[in-house]
């Protein structure tokens, strides 16, 4: 077989012999011809979503934090008043009126903590006049509250005497007298401080809707209002949050005011001749 024959054999058979390429070859080629566009688009989207997710997480956590916080806040409102009441002589007439309100509405609306505190504060006030004698007459008062409940009007002075024991020197009684909420502990301690030196702290809550209420005088009613507001506003707040999250995901402006999260507290106090005021915005 000559070289030419050999060449011809291969040339004839192989020169124009098509072999179908694999099906995915065209797709692979397409992918290689324009790959970068797809990748560049993906990146900012991913960044966007992670940012949105982070903020949603932040908001949910903050809601969760606020919920138990609401009770505490309510507790703190009368607490401040309580301190005021610790001032012995003058406050007594004032406290008489809210006391009545407590009797009327207290059981229905007001949560336990503020109510006990309110009564406690009154009791504190009332100590000054009748307390010490009452204390002696009712030794069982503090320990058994269940007995107290039915005959409230009569026993009231005595039951409320329970916190009166704050004034008594015994430390154990102090511990018992303070209700379970942790905030009240501080209040009682500050109350004792207050008894040593007259000190007044006024807390004002500025809500968007509600007028700045003077908590110092009307203890119960603002708390009551707050209750209602909170009940309504949680629904509103959830709506607002979803709206803001939506805004966020669409790249619009986020307004925290709409969430109703903005509260500002104004604190005022006088020490000696100096008057100190502080505004806290949440």
């Amino acid at each position: 077989m000559s070289a030419e024959d050999l060449d011809k054999l291969f040339r004839d058979k192989l020169q124009n012999r098509p072999v179908a390429p694999a099906n995915d070859v065209w797709e692979r080629m397409q992918a290689r011809m324009n790959p970068p566009v797809v990748q560049e688009e993906k990146k900012p989207v991913m960044w966007y979503w992670s940012a949105a997710a982070a903020i949603v997480l932040l908001i949910t956590v903050s809601i969760w934090m606020l919920r138990p916080g609401q009770q505490i806040n309510q507790g703190s409102v009368p607490m401040a008043v309580q301190i005021e009441k610790a001032i012995p002589t003058q406050t007594l007439p004032e406290t008489e009126t809210p006391q009545n309100e407590v009797e009327k509405e207290g059981n229905k609306i007001i949560e336990k903590i503020p109510s006990t505190q309110a009564t406690g504060s009154q009791a504190l006030a009332s100590i000054k006049t009748e307390g010490r004698t009452a204390e002696n007459t009712t030794p069982t008062g503090p320990s058994k509250k269940s007995e107290v409940a039915p005959g409230r009007k009569q026993v009231k002075m005595r039951t409320e005497v329970a916190p009166i024991k704050l004034t008594t020197p015994e430390p154990e009684m102090l511990a018992q007298a303070t209700p379970p909420a942790s905030k009240t502990v501080t209040s009682s301690s500050s109350a004792s401080l207050g008894s040593a030196e007259p000190m007044e702290i006024i807390v004002k809550l500025d809500n968007n809707q509600a007028e700045p209420t003077k908590l110092a005088q009307a203890q119960v009613e603002p708390a009551q209002d707050k209750d209602y507001n909170n009940g309504r506003s949680t629904g509103k707040m959830m709506k607002g949050i979803f709206k803001q999250v939506k805004n966020l995901s669409q790249g619009e402006k986020v307004d925290l005011k709409e969430l109703g999260l903005k509260h500002s507290y104004a604190l005022e106090t006088t020490i000696g001749n100096k008057k100190i005021s502080k505004t806290i915005t949440l």
Binding site: M1, A3, D5, L6, D7, L9, F10, R11, K13, L14, Q15, N16, R17, P18, V19, A20, P21, A22, V25, W26, R28, M29, R32, M33
Partner: protein
């Protein structure tokens, strides 16, 4: 669509024309690539690179020869470049693991293209390249020497060694058939 229209459409970057070109020449060009590279994946790689080059440089096509010839040349060059990168051509270093072909091997017209392709693939890459270029593609030794960056003498000796190997393979094939 005739060749001229196809080229014009390709020169505007028309995606349909690109697809059409692939449909028409994908098979034949894959056949070309497979003559140089026995690994199918390598051949596909060369095919893809070759078509991308055709799309990119279709402006440079002058209407002298046939468009298919131009495309084929690009594929061959891609294949050689790939060979050079992937497996050094061993153009000069081939050991003498070949004996002279037995002269009595008769041309067998019944040989299938697949069998011939297998034989081609059994050649060392350098021999295969030179044989492909000279015997099948029809390049001269001078052209081959330039394309592979070797001397003309080396091209000639590579070709004769490749032929000898193929003749031996054909003879063995004939023997096995005879038995």
């Amino acid at each position: 669509m005739n060749e001229l229209d196809l080229v014009k459409a390709l020169q505007t970057g028309d995606a349909k024309a690109q697809r059409f070109l692939y449909e028409r020449y994908g098979g034949p060009m894959m056949g070309v690539c497979l003559r140089y590279l026995k690994n199918e994946m390598d051949a596909e790689e060369v095919l893809i690179n070759g078509f991308m080059k055709v799309y990119q440089h279709v402006d440079r096509f002058e209407q002298k020869g046939s468009f298919e010839g131009w495309v084929r040349r690009i594929m061959v060059n891609e294949a050689l470049q790939y060979l050079r990168k992937k497996e050094p051509l061993h153009l000069a270093i081939e050991k003498d693991h070949l004996h002279l072909a037995s002269e009595d091997a008769a041309p067998d017209s019944d040989m299938s293209a697949e069998e011939l392709m297998e034989m081609l693939h059994d050649l060392p890459a350098g021999y295969r390249a030179v044989f492909n270029l000279y015997a099948i593609e029809g390049y001269s030794h001078k052209e081959i020497a330039e394309m592979l960056n070797i001397s003309e003498g080396t091209s000639k000796s590579q070709l004769s060694k490749a032929r000898a190997m193929l003749q031996r393979m054909l003879a063995e094939q004939g023997i096995t058939i005879d038995i």
